[in-house]
Subunit: 202 residues, 2 copies
């Protein structure tokens, strides 16, 4: 009896799906069977939006956010405060900060965070461009490090803080502490430690 | 200051990715940024394999497994035992059973499992075709219900067992118990209860 396997086009699809971040072999199979057999699925539409996004979206050469033409809409906006630069890991971190309504400066997307395990070293991040932006600014800037509160985010923030100390800029980090709406009984020890360390006079 | 949002092609891509099973809004954003900005990503290749799979792969009209032409390679194989029918939820459940090497009959993929929460009712599954296959068989068949050990799998197995009792077939279910290599200390109560209930003389 012949060894049964998926037909080659199904294997190719599973292979490409498996490469997506956060998608393991099992979920790749599950997504493939859904795409090919569910009446709700529309693989042609997915293929079409993939190609359209690939063809029309570029990385903003200044900040790294998504752009459709030369520069992104944030860098193009003359009303934004160019003296404050918010450093984030990914382009997707920009929108949550925008929705907070608490920031009106410009962004700089690093394109990742330092992670020896995933073989991400400083050369893999958009750090030279960040230094050039700070150096070429005529006035003193504030650089807000808005990186994750995980180990890699901490390491990246420390690395950048060391680099930036020699530049003409004020370095700040976003606060760590209790998340809004979260009670103390749900907070882990590290969060409470950070919340205590970051306490402010009222 | 204008409200910042992703450019439309990025939003469309995130929207399609969010529709995939097991992909939430956050992972859709993460996958989109990876597809558009990671040097390792190849969105054109993903689009191409999607279209190729969609164009060449059909659901086997007999059993529901993936097929490239009329019927799938399992249904086409004259060496398989047509008196044993293994009923599974999804086409992706076929390969794990094949790899076990313990089954040489034919399959029937239901296309899902009964789940009131996900609004999957008997009409959404390929049950009439299963009944026709059993009725049109000249000899008595064994129908193995190889469904998941979760609530929906149990419900589906019970529903099918009720339906099939009137037909000329022997109904069996795959065993539930300790997974291979699993010690008792890692097994939950329900698994141990099933393992005890399914005990066999040695």
């Amino acid at each position: 009896m012949a060894k049964v396997d998926f037909p080659e086009p199904v294997k190719a699809l599973i292979g490409e799906l498996k490469r997506l971040p956060g998608v393991g072999p099992r979920s790749a199979e599950r997504v493939a069977v859904w795409l090919l057999q569910s009446p709700k699925a529309d693989p042609a539409e997915l293929a079409s939006v993939l190609l359209r996004a690939k063809q029309t979206i570029v990385r903003c050469p200044v900040c790294g956010f998504f752009a459709t033409q030369d520069r992104c809409e944030i860098c193009e906006d003359p009303k934004r405060d160019s003296r404050i630069l918010c450093v984030v890991e990914q382009a997707t971190d920009v929108l949550p900060l925008e929705r907070s309504g608490a920031f009106h400066g410009l962004y700089h997307c690093l394109g990742g965070k330092l992670s020896p395990l995933d073989r991400v070293s400083p050369e893999d991040l958009h750090i030279p461009a960040l230094l050039r932006r700070i150096e070429s600014s005529g006035e003193e800037m504030e650089v807000i490090l808005a990186l994750g509160a995980d180990v890699e985010g901490e390491a990246t923030a420390n690395y950048l803080a060391d680099l930036l100390r020699e530049k003409n800029c004020r370095i700040t980090r976003i606060a760590q502490g209790l998340p809004a709406g979260g009670g103390l009984e749900h907070a882990d020890e590290l969060t409470l430690m950070r919340a205590l360390q970051g306490r402010r006079s009222v």
